[in-house]
């Protein structure tokens, strides 16, 4: 008999069917991966199971008995625990306080912190999840915080544990540790639902894979019966090219010319230390590097959001070193920013308004300071169509779109403007395979049209599959340049982490006087 059984769960949001008669079974000691693209309805389904949302139809059974779950409290009472994608931890409180919250041991309303602490230690030892019970959440790493979330569910007596996109925020090392933890939980008799859109994780950890698409279960399989390509096909509903093929680059005129560029970061420390390179038309140049090595500042300078402290930049021969964001757009630079929520979109605006940003001064969309709604609407509808943004209409608020569709919207605006240079900073971060494939194809289309593309990415696979040339950035400098066929992940990783005898003498000299000044 399954521990948890869902029978024909239906959940409707205004205008969208998030779950349509979804059925699912989970056996004791089993890891089921719930796989699907962003917006396929995985999280909605699990929020129904956890009592955060109420279903419009269907029923939930625990150990074969119908279970009424109308609130998280009832879910907890039935032995269901959930680790949310965005952690439900109270940052200033301690690990122990967070774990016992809602089920505090004690008498007459007074919490017995000694017992609470002992129980936390006991559970953490039993499942091999080491933790400092007195640490404050805000002082813990993300991986540790996730561990607290799992402990919290165990403390509440969970037999079924739902993990919602648990690896999204983890480093590769932490992901391996998490997989170990999940296996030991299952060995102890728990059952786990693992929500994800990452194929390699599913293959690594799941006993059984349930694939969802557009709110329905579209297939079920086991890792040994399939491979990543097969899974991707089930998930997206068509063949997916995981690695794109591209024709040989036909390098045209030089579009972007950067020489000896210097720039500071927010704290006033030099982040870009003399970078020179060029990008020509019909070429994708990728900047590879570990996050925080000056890529963000470099991109900001090129798109006019940061003032360089030295050096020059030219776009098709025109000096753009001190161009503002506006004149940079007018000169033909488009920018897909790395943080689509903070910089790419105004989440409270509707899609048409978002699409017009940056072009809001240009005819035919506006003349003499007045917008022309008809022209804007026509343009918005066409872009939404061309770039396959899935939405009922252009009047929808941007925050209501799934992450993949939001990114398509940004791509639609920036590429739709028909730029000379496309600067794409981590254009596929957080996207699922279908959306990644789409964005990659758009970037290569630009290249085929003879446009210049500067790609900044932390994903080596992306860098290797898209770029004609790869610049490795480390500590604010370009330490190595490769052509696409010279490079592989290992070599890139080696140079990205400071291998290859990078000279840092300059830094040592700069740091010297400051240190001695501090001592004196």
């Amino acid at each position: 008999m399954p521990v948890l059984e869902l029978r024909e769960i239906t959940k409707v949001f205004p205008g969208v069917i998030a779950n349509e008669r979804v059925s699912l079974e989970l056996e004791k000691g089993e890891i089921v991966a719930l796989l699907g693209e962003n917006g396929a309805g995985k999280t909605t389904l699990m929020n129904v199971v956890y009592g955060l949302l109420s279903a419009d139809g269907g029923e939930i059974l625990m150990d074969g008995e119908p279970a009424k779950i109308k609130s998280p409290r009832q879910a907890i009472d039935h032995g269901i625990g959930m680790v949310h994608q965005h952690f439900m931890l109270v940052e200033p409180l301690t690990v122990t306080e967070n774990i016992v919250l809602g089920r505090e041991p004690g008498r007459l309303g007074v919490i017995d912190f000694k017992i609470a602490r002992e129980r936390v230690i006991e559970i953490s030892q039993r499942y091999g999840l080491k933790i400092d019970p007195d640490a404050r959440i805000e002082d813990l790493s993300v991986g540790m915080q996730q561990r607290v979330e799992i402990l919290k569910a165990l403390f509440q007596g969970a037999r079924v544990l739902i993990l919602d996109e648990p690896t999204a925020v983890l480093t590769p090392q932490e992901v391996r540790e998490l997989f170990g933890v999940v296996r030991s939980l299952v060995d102890e008799g728990l059952s786990v639902v693992f929500i994800t859109h990452k194929l390699e994780e599913v293959m690594a950890v799941a006993d059984r894979i349930v694939v969802m698409r557009d709110g329905r279960v579209v297939g079920e399989t086991r890792p040994e019966d399939t491979d990543e390509i097969g899974l991707a096909r089930m998930m997206v509903g068509r063949d997916v090219v995981l690695r794109v093929e591209k024709p040989v680059s036909t390098c045209g005129d030089t579009v972007l010319e950067v020489s000896d560029l210097h720039a500071d970061d927010e704290r006033g420390l030099e982040a870009v230390k003399g970078v020179s390179f060029s990008v020509c038309g019909g070429e994708v140049v990728a900047v590879a590097g570990v996050s925080g090595n000056g890529q963000t500042e470099l991109v900001d300078c090129i798109v006019g959001l940061r003032r360089p402290t030295g050096g020059t930049m030219h776009l098709k021969g025109k000096d753009i070193t001190h161009a503002s964001a506006r004149s940079s757009i007018e000169a033909g630079v488009s920018h897909i920013p790395e943080d689509r929520h903070r910089r790419g979109l105004v989440l409270e605006f509707d899609l048409a308004e978002n699409l017009i940003l940056g072009d809001h001064r240009t005819p035919p969309y506006s003349t003499r300071g007045l917008l022309h709604p008809k022209a804007v609407t026509t343009m918005a509808r066409k872009r939404i169509d061309d770039y396959d943004v899935r939405t009922p209409s252009e009047k929808v608020i941007a925050s209501n779109l799934s992450g993949g569709n939001q990114q398509k919207l940004v791509v639609a605006r920036e590429i739709g403007r028909d730029p000379e240079l496309l600067v794409a900073a981590q254009p596929t971060r957080g996207l699922d395979v279908g959306a990644i494939e789409f964005v990659h194809r758009q970037i290569l289309d630009e290249r085929a049209e003879g446009k210049a593309v500067l790609l900044v990415s932390l994903e080596l696979e992306e860098v290797l599959s898209l770029a004609d040339r790869i610049l490795v950035m480390y500590e604010g400098r370009i330490v190595r340049e490769f052509t696409a066929d010279e490079a592989d992940e290992e070599t890139l990783g080696y140079y990205m982490t400071g291998g290859g005898g990078v000279k840092l003498d300059d830094d040592a000299r700069q740091a010297g006087p400051i240190e001695s000044g501090g001592d004196a």
């Binding site: 949001f13 929020n47 956890y50 955060l52 949302l53 109420s54 609130s71 998280p72 409290r73 009832q74 907890i76 009472d77 959930m82 949310h84 952690f87 439900m88 931890l89 109270v90 940052e91 200033p92 409180l93 306080e97 967070n98 016992v100 919250l101 809602g102 089920r103 505090e104 004690g106 309303g109 007074v110 919490i111 912190f113 919290k152 509440q156």
Partner: protein
């Protein structure tokens, strides 16, 4: 001259003046810890002061007046709770509305019930609990005179307030209620997902702040002044809010900060009396508590970290 200013009396008045501030500030602490901003403290205090006085005038019993002041505080704060928790209104707007409402309602009822604006008839007040003689000579006699003067000459609510501050501090950090209170002001959804009712928790917190601010009003009228005057709270609710921030959203911190404001108030009165000697216009001394408030809020104490979710209505999902 310094000897005329630094007297047991000055410190005693600090405790006295601190009492209404501290009560309201602790109310503010509890309310804001739950995630609801309460700038209505001023209006709630005023409401408590009025209805407390009215109850004493009607029955002649000061303790009944104290009770009614708290009940009135709870009733009017229920408006704030309903608006900010259920209707998810902007909490600053709701608080401001209550302040205006309190001013209007007390002024209106004053005319209706007593036939004139301004001040009510004097009421029977609560006097000091202990009335010890401060006699005796020598060093010990002097010490006794100070201890008695500062600590032992107060009315009941002054002592009750000290107990409330200590108890609230303990409860916020040691009880189930306190842990949930602190958590819901930081991350209400986290509290909801472990099955604790955030709406109910916030309601309770707002009503408690109403009872405490009402009690503050009772202290003003039934212990200190002995009658009700229109708008007699005179900004104390806002100073209490500052004391709560100064005290970093803790009950004892609120009490300590209120003592400082109380001392400034006491000093101000002293200096006014001595204005002929020191030749500074009394208005400057009147400014003292308010200037102190501004200085405190301008961040002299360093950055105070408010509860993360304060002021944000909590919305359950679909």
């Amino acid at each position: 001259m310094l000897g005329d200013i630094i007297t047991p009396d000055l410190f005693a008045s600090a405790f006295r003046m601190a009492t209404p501030l501290a009560l309201a500030a602790i109310g503010g602490t509890i309310c804001e810890r739950s995630g609801v901003v309460n700038i209505a403290l001023e209006g709630i205090m005023l409401t408590g002061a009025f209805f407390g006085t009215a109850a004493v005038l009607a029955t002649g019993s000061p303790w009944f007046g104290v009770l009614m002041a708290m009940v009135a505080g709870v009733v009017i704060s229920a408006i704030h709770a309903f608006a900010s928790v259920n209707l998810k209104a902007d909490q600053v707007v709701s608080g401001t509305a209550i302040n205006l409402l309190a001013l209007g309602v007390t002024g209106f009822l004053m005319e209706r019930w007593y036939g004139h604006p301004g001040t009510t008839d004097p009421i029977k007040t609560l006097g000091p609990i202990l009335r010890l003689t401060a006699e005796g000579g020598g060093f010990l006699g002097e010490v006794w005179r100070w201890v008695n003067g500062i600590f032992l000459t107060h009315t009941p609510i002054v002592y009750i307030t000290v107990l409330i501050a200590i108890f609230a501090q303990w409860a916020i950090y040691n009880t189930r209620w306190g842990l949930r209170l602190r958590a819901m002001g930081e991350h209400p959804r986290a509290v909801d997902t472990v099955g604790v009712n955030v709406y109910r928790g916030r309601w309770v917190a707002v009503l408690m702040s109403g009872a405490l601010a009402g009690l503050a009003g009772a202290n003003l009228t039934i212990e200190q002044v002995g009658s009700f005057t229109e708008n007699m709270t005179n900004g104390r609710g806002f100073i209490a809010l500052a004391a709560n921030i100064f005290g970093r959203w803790t009950a004892l911190g609120s009490y300590g900060a209120s003592l400082l404001f109380g001392l400034a108030d006491g000093l101000q009165i002293k200096l006014q009396i001595l204005r002929d000697v020191i030749r500074i216009p009394p208005q400057f001394f009147l400014m003292l508590p308010y200037v102190l408030t501004v200085v405190v809020l301008a961040g002299v104490i360093g950055r105070a970290v408010a509860p993360a979710a304060v002021g944000e209505p909590y919305e359950k999902k679909g």
